[in-house]
């Protein structure tokens, strides 16, 4: 049985960010197809994704990604020193910065962090929207 349930739909970039987090950590999950507006009673704000881990439920994708990182073994999604962790946080919340991309291999340094998992699903949609 899957360790956690993720409620959302594949095209949603935030759903994908939480699925990426689970995959990167090696956590088995079940995707429960759920569209925005169908989230009650788990999320009164009506947004996807949401997560269930036993009787613990959570919404807001940064909170879900961090919870997965803290709770399960596997490669860390946030660096472990305070300064690098802070850079991972600010990169993840702001989206793409060309200068950051030139300076580092990944958004917050030389390894993949949560910041990349949030940017990737949004950035991968761009080519599909070319007019």
């Amino acid at each position: 049985m899957a360790a956690i349930q993720i409620y959302g739909v594949p095209p949603s970039p935030f759903t994908r960010a939480t699925r990426l987090a689970a995959r990167e950590k090696g956590v088995e999950y079940e995707l429960v197809p759920t569209r925005p507006g169908e989230t009650a009673p788990l999320n009164p704000l009506g947004k996807i994704p949401m997560m269930e881990h036993g009787d613990f439920t959570l919404y807001e994708s940064p909170a879900i990604a961090r919870y997965i990182d803290w709770t399960f073994d596997g490669p860390p999604l946030w660096p472990t020193d305070a300064k690098a962790e802070a850079r991972g946080d600010d990169a993840g919340q702001s989206g793409l910065d060309h200068r950051i991309a030139e300076d580092h291999r990944f958004l917050a340094g030389e390894t993949v962090t949560a910041a990349d998992l949030f940017l990737g699903p949004i950035f991968s949609i761009f080519p599909k929207l070319r007019s």
């Binding site: 704000l45 919404y59 919870y67 962790e85 850079r87 600010d90 702001s94």
Partner: protein, 206 residues
């Protein structure tokens, strides 16, 4: 000389959140008055606040608060247990997304900082009316947003809710949220909140 420099201005809700965190944790800081258009060297996304600590430059308020919490002693802004951290993260994010994209944008348009069509402004107001009751319900279940103690989540919510009484349409929404009102009274009494009260609040556009 203060090691931490906060670049921003007092009326900015996120600048206030970062200052509140310093006061709550007892961190000495210097406020360097900086408008969004002047912040580019520190934050290419042109948003305030940003901080410097030695050679570390950091933007995004959530990242800044978390950095303070890991780096400095003083009362914790996030709980210690995994579920508690997650719950706090959830409410921080809910404020920064759902409430900011509704109420803060509505305020910005009313204050003339964000010129948007009336239709869009109305959408911001409708959304605010929709999400405030969710915060009100939560504050009916627990004393603070993420439990029985003040956390980062409250420091994000407070500067936003404190603007509601200044704008009649938002005051009406706040008036029907009794738990938010009880919480706002408790928060208003905290020394951190008193110390960061903006002297010059923006005025409503004519």
């Amino acid at each position: 000389m203060a090691e931490i420099k906060i670049h921003g201005v007092p009326p900015s809700t996120f600048t206030r959140t970062v200052r509140l965190a310093c006061h709550e944790k007892g961190i000495d800081y210097e406020l360097v008055p900086t408008m969004p258009g002047e912040i580019t060297p520190l934050n290419p996304f042109r948003k305030i606040p940003a901080i410097t600590h030695g050679d570390l430059v950091l933007f995004e308020s959530t990242a800044i608060l978390r950095y303070f919490d890991r780096t400095f002693p003083g009362p914790k802004l996030w709980p210690e247990d995994s579920a508690g951290v997650a719950r706090c993260d959830q409410w921080v994010s809910a404020v920064c997304d759902s409430l900011v994209n509704a109420a803060l944008r509505y305020m910005a348009s009313r204050y003339g900082f964000l010129p948007v069509p009336g239709e869009m402004r109305q959408k911001y107001l409708d959304k605010t009316r929709e999400v405030v009751p969710i915060f009100d319900r939560q504050l009916g279940e627990s004393r603070y947003l993420a439990g029985d103690a003040v956390t980062a989540a409250d420091l994000f919510l407070a500067p936003l809710l404190f603007y509601f009484p200044d704008i009649p349409e938002l005051r009406a929404i706040a008036d029907s949220a009794p738990n938010c009102a009880r919480w706002a009274r408790e928060m208003a009494a905290r020394p951190s909140v008193v110390a960061t009260e903006p002297a010059d609040k923006p005025r409503l556009a004519a």
